[in-house]
Symmetry: C2
Subunit: 348 residues, 2 copies
């Protein structure tokens, strides 16, 4: 202990990015190490000191593991901890908006404790009647993405035909349920029988199929959408997008949320059927959840009652311990996870 | 002459599509023949008999020269005349909305006289103080496409950066001028020095370049748009679209009007940079001019004063005689035309 009780140094386990990644990421692209951290916010800081409880594994993180000049997607720093969304408890604070004991979710480090000198994306957790881990997904970034990606980007109308790829994932499972609530006919695709069963029997999709069992995606979509697709929620890209473009209805909308099939390719696949967007007057709209952060509490008010009443189903795939985080993240890209991939560092 | 003066048979020269076209179209995919036609609308018809004056050559026509199951783009019938937009005079009518002597523009045959049993796209020409040929372009389909494609699809704001490919063509030259009127910074590309000069010196674009002289389209766009592109008016597709995607600004809009570089390919080029539309929240919106036909006279009211005052510049490339029509149409795909390609059958 140092002067004025202003030091309380503890050990701090971290997941470090070894170097920029090319191709398919591997567990060994990261390593776990232990350093130490002072649990008191330094006097010259306006920040917070967080104890991290739950971490979120998200496909977009792959984009930050590579070197990029992209100003909107700042790469991780090799040799430093991975950064992502997580649920944390405030251990110390010199920031006027947060006080010791607050539960928060937002950007944090993949480590036991994180000092944020300038918290930029950090929300106070509005309700603890639901599992805290939900704030890594359903009531965090994934929920916000699904809700505004569907409602704001796609404007679903009752009776419209909605298709969702990667449908059992954190975002897809919610888009499907929100679309059902809006009165749409909803079909999802996923990569295993177990996931397809979840879509049909737990999440209430009208139909679902295993894309790995379809040699001809165009034919599969024609089978499930004989009238065509009004809304496509795009999580996959590449060949899937090309097949969807052949099946869009006039004035259809495609919310481009992610393209997980492309993230590990050195050169993305070419999409060849873009002329369809002229014939069918399709709107293809990219969006980022960051733009909807100011509407976070509005979103919570809209969905929390349905969550508490059990009307919204939600499946998490939980990995225990920070040491399991690299494998959990890598598993997203082979579809190993079933539902939202969470890492538990500690439960309180 | 037959009973009741109900027949007046004259010879009728026609441009016939020989067969469905694959690859780059050739003049010999069409042939000129002479048949005969009765200039009186049959008693059991509700139609009109048109004398065709000016024909419009448009890139979209290539899509109708091939076999397709596309319900929104009905193929031409081999052995029958080409169909396209044109300016005509009503010679006889049993339709309540049209009378003999009316000047009209709309869908007609590539022939001297056309009997339309059910006129579906046929507008009465609202003003004859401007050259009649303008109704094949500036005051017809191309003008309507440029006006609503820019204003409705792209919502240009003062100071925004606008890029137009195939910029000296019928639509591009107008989009550029409308965007300048809206206070935008406008750059166009075209395929010859003559066209680039037109863009800069006649149509008032801020900058223009010859894409054939650029080995690296991405680098060229970075030179002309160091701040990036807010609005791209897409007439070209393929490699050009891929380069543009690398240069879009956040919340940019792409109006997808046509993809002339792709129409003659058996397999379209793949577009690989679509992930940019996520990072930049880009909206890629296909549209068809047909959807704006109900607003045609509103468009005329908006632009006619500027046309009469010479504020809108317009360049036509005129081919004389129906026999020249096949070569004029084919020339679009090698960029032979300078400005709007018109075929004159007869001037009154």
């Amino acid at each position: 202990m140092a002067e004025g009780g202003n030091e309380e140094v503890v050990s701090n386990k971290q997941v470090i990015l070894r170097d920029y990644v090319t191709g398919f990421p591997k567990e060994t692209d990261m390593y776990v190490t232990t350093t130490s951290i002072n649990l008191r916010v330094p006097e010259d800081s306006n920040g917070v000191l967080l104890k991290n409880l739950y971490l979120s594994c998200d496909p977009y993180m792959r984009s930050r593991m590579k070197h990029s000049e992209e100003p909107d997607f700042v790469p991780y720093t090799p040799g430093s901890p991975i950064v992502g969304f997580g649920v944390s408890k405030v251990v110390d604070s010199r920031h006027p908006e947060y006080k010791k004991g607050d539960l928060v979710w937002g950007y944090t480090g993949w480590e036991e404790y994180t000092h944020l000198s300038e918290p930029q994306v950090l929300f106070k957790i509005p309700n603890t009647d639901v599992p805290l881990s939900y704030y890594t997904g359903l009531l965090g970034m994934a929920g916000l993405t699904a809700y505004f990606g569907l409602h704001d980007v796609c404007s679903p109308k009752k009776g419209e035909y909605v298709y969702i790829s990667a449908a059992s994932g954190a975002v897809g499972q919610l888009v499907g349920q929100f679309a059902k609530s809006a009165g749409c006919y909803v079909v999802g695709s996923a990569g295993s029988k177990e996931k397809v069963d979840l879509l049909k029997n737990k999440f209430g999709f009208d139909e679902a199929f295993n894309y790995k069992e379809e040699n001809d995606l165009d034919a599969a979509l024609k089978r499930y959408f004989p009238e065509g697709i009004d809304i496509y929620f795009e999580n996959v890209g590449g060949k899937m997008l090309d097949a969807v473009l052949l099946n869009m209805r006039a004035h259809g909308r495609i919310a481009v949320c992610g393209m997980i099939s492309q993230y590990n390719l050195e050169q993305p696949e070419g999409v060849t059927n873009l002329m369809q967007i002229i014939y069918k007057r399709v709107r293809l709209q990219g969006f980022l959840v960051f733009d909807y952060f100011p509407q976070y509490y509005k979103f919570v008010d809209a969905v929390l009652p349905d969550i508490k009443q059990g009307k919204i189903k939600y499946v998490e795939d939980t990995a225990e311990g920070l040491e399991s985080a690299p494998a959990a993240l890598i598993g997203l890209f082979s579809g190993r996870n079933v539902g939202k991939q969470v890492v538990v560092i500690c439960r309180e």
